[in-house]
């Protein structure tokens, strides 16, 4: 049976100390996290620096969009082959605008999908939390086995937690 413990801190230094204390108590990186109401510099709490693959999403999206646009522009012109001003049926310059816009649209949509997926959202069961985190408190949260929860609470308290919550 696992248990979640949340320690609340008013000072970023205390939160960083709590993260160190958890590491010192033998909890592996990745089992605990820090929650803030505003972005802090990366590594400010000595946390595990998250890796992501967001940059692949727009490239993939642009390729999909471009392919669909080629199909749409070519198919509509071939389906109704009206010669205009002696110009070729497949008029490349006119296709470029649609190719460009559809590629960009698809890249943007896939980037947004990428941001959501890589942020691990939607998070249906967000777990233990405190509303005061968006008022400036910093939460250090750990999910561990029931028998190790006391060790985690001790580590969080050792850094001066103003409150400990369990779930």
């Amino acid at each position: 049976m696992s248990k979640s413990v949340l320690g609340l801190y008013s000072d970023p230094n205390q939160a960083a100390d709590a993260m160190d204390a958890l590491k010192g108590a033998g909890f592996p990186l990745g089992t605990f996290d820090v929650l803030t109401g505003t972005p802090y510099p990366e590594g400010a709490f000595g946390e595990h620096v998250p890796q992501h693959r967001l940059f692949r999403f727009p490239a993939f999206g642009a390729i999909i969009g471009f392919t669909l646009a080629i199909f749409l522009t070519a198919a509509t012109q071939i389906a109704y082959p009206l010669v205009t001003g002696g110009k070729p049926i497949l008029s490349l310059f006119a296709m470029l605008v649609i190719l460009y816009e559809m590629s960009m649209l698809s890249a943007v949509i896939s980037t947004v999908v990428g941001i959501v997926i890589e942020s691990r959202l939607p998070n249906v069961n967000p777990g233990i939390y405190d509303n005061r985190i968006t008022e400036g408190l910093i939460g250090v949260v750990i999910t561990t086995d029931d028998d190790k929860s006391d060790t985690a609470i001790d580590a969080l308290n050792s850094a001066g937690a103003m409150e400990i919550k369990q779930a």
Binding site: P39, P58, T84, V97, A107, N123, G127
Partner: protein
């Protein structure tokens, strides 16, 4: 940032969420009045759809009038969002923070409004659905992707979709904040919309990287949209004044001029109405005015170039058009008003530091710009069509009908109405950006003076 003061996160929440948690007294009456104007406007549009375009002043040869002018005007205003949000985000300009959300929102609502004008102008809007969807299999007619009139809705739809998603992604942390401050149905709504946001380092990192990536993707779209709108005109060789190679950059820079001015108007209103003096400060208006001086002067150069290119070739029809536009009644008075309100008055004012730091004067000067910029679009579109040409068999000048004027007025009320509705449910200033700014603010001592400073994380 000279005028910053330290504000804790509880106070930031209380002040910047006052529209959602404690609705101001003026909000409901204003929304009701605007709602009535909006309803009358929709009724007018209904009359026009029912009776046909005969209720407008449009007639051959002036087949594009107030509606298309207003369409170009709102597309121009929509360039505020990406100009402010994306460019300033990419360049990490600190003063962007209170401005970005309002600018993105202005983009979304002005684009929505812009899209409605070609639909109205079509007279029977349901018959132009084939512009977007290849539906008409019975006749085998597909959208003609070679037509700029197809490029336009494709570009604007791309920009609108991208801007809306951009706005939503940047709202996620603030939706989490609203979830934490509300109860009942509001809490349920914000819980769903915030997607379970918690604010861990992964989510913040993706928020930052994603914001920069989306900004970089939206910038080329932003440039393409008004370029493509300009090609509605520029690829029409038969109309003098439209067929110009510089139209794309000319339209883009004009759009930035009017869009950023609209952001100034909106920021002044936000500061006055919601009493956000601590967050929207004179220094922000000062920075925007400096930016606008550069943009306006670049735009003036393009206006001048367009005239030079037109008259340098001594082509008789071009000269006749310019004479009509600049010297003949009533176009001459519109032209003078356009130059004075679009450039001379506002830039003359912005050159003074006292004006740049005076919110009321900035508000009025930004309104002048948009009067001028609306007239600019009118002067590009209508005189080119109204000029008497040899082979036109009917010839009438253009006098917009009362209904057209009301629909123009309706569009202003409609955008304001949408903004106010949004402000009831979502914050107009990004709270997490404000809080981040506080986290990174510091002061350093140089000699005997203490200077406010911003700490920036290395990339």
């Amino acid at each position: 940032m000279q005028q910053r003061r330290t504000i804790d996160q509880i106070h930031t929440n209380r002040v910047l969420l006052n529209g959602q948690l404690d609705t101001p007294k003026w909000w409901a009456p204003t929304v009701i009045v605007l709602g009535i104007i909006v309803a009358i406007g929709f009724f007018m549009i209904g009359i026009m759809v029912n009776k046909g375009l005969g209720v407008t002043g449009l007639s051959r040869p002036v087949y594009w009038g107030l509606f298309i002018t207003t369409f170009v005007f709102w597309v121009g205003i929509s360039h505020a969002g990406i100009m402010i949000s994306a460019i300033l985000r990419l360049s990490q300009a600190e003063w962007r923070r209170p401005v970005t959300r309002a600018a993105e929102l202005l983009t979304v609502f002005s684009l929505l409004t812009a899209l409605m004008f070609p639909l109205m102008h079509a007279g029977r809007p349901w018959r132009i659905i084939y512009f977007i969807l290849p539906y008409d299999f019975a006749r085998g007619i597909m959208p003609n992707i070679r037509s700029p009139l197809i490029w336009d809705p494709v570009a604007i739809s791309t920009y609108l979709t991208g801007s809306t998603l951009f706005l939503y992604i940047a709202l996620l942390p603030d939706l989490g904040n609203l979830r934490d401050r509300t109860t009942g149905w509001q809490n349920a709504l914000y819980t769903i919309l915030s997607l379970g946001w918690r604010g861990n380092p992964r989510q913040w990192k993706l928020q930052t990287v994603g914001g920069i990536l989306l900004s970089a993707l939206m910038l080329p779209i932003f440039v393409s949209v008004h370029s493509i709108v300009s090609w509605d005109f520029a690829v029409t060789p038969a109309v003098e004044g439209w067929h110009s190679t510089i139209f794309a950059p000319y339209f883009v820079i004009g759009a930035v001029h009017s869009g950023v001015s609209a952001v100034v108007t909106m920021m002044a209103l936000m500061r006055w109405l919601w009493k956000w003096e601590d967050f929207i400060r004179p220094e922000h208006f000062d920075a925007l005015a400096r930016l606008l001086i550069v943009v306006a002067t670049g735009w003036l150069a393009f206006t001048f170039l367009e005239l030079i290119f037109a008259v340098y070739g001594l082509d008789a029809p071009e000269l006749a058009l310019r004479e009509l536009q600049i010297f003949q009644w009533p176009w001459n008075i519109l032209f003078i008003t356009f130059v004075i309100t679009g450039y001379i008055i506002p830039v003359g004012m912005w050159l003074q530091k006292s004006v740049r730091n005076n919110i009321a004067l900035m508000f009025w000067s930004s309104l002048f710009v948009n009067i001028g910029m609306w007239l600019e679009r009118f002067l590009i579109i209508v005189p080119g069509l109204a000029r008497k040409t040899p082979f036109v068999y009917t010839w009438e000048s253009y006098r917009p009908s009362g209904l057209e004027w009301f629909i123009l007025f309706w569009s202003l009320a409609w955008v304001t109405f949408l903004m106010l509705l949004f402000s009831r449910f979502f914050p107009l200033v990004p709270l997490f950006e404000q809080k981040e700014s506080q986290t990174f603010s510091d002061s350093i001592k140089i000699g005997r003076v203490k200077v406010p400073a911003i700490v920036r994380e290395a990339d």
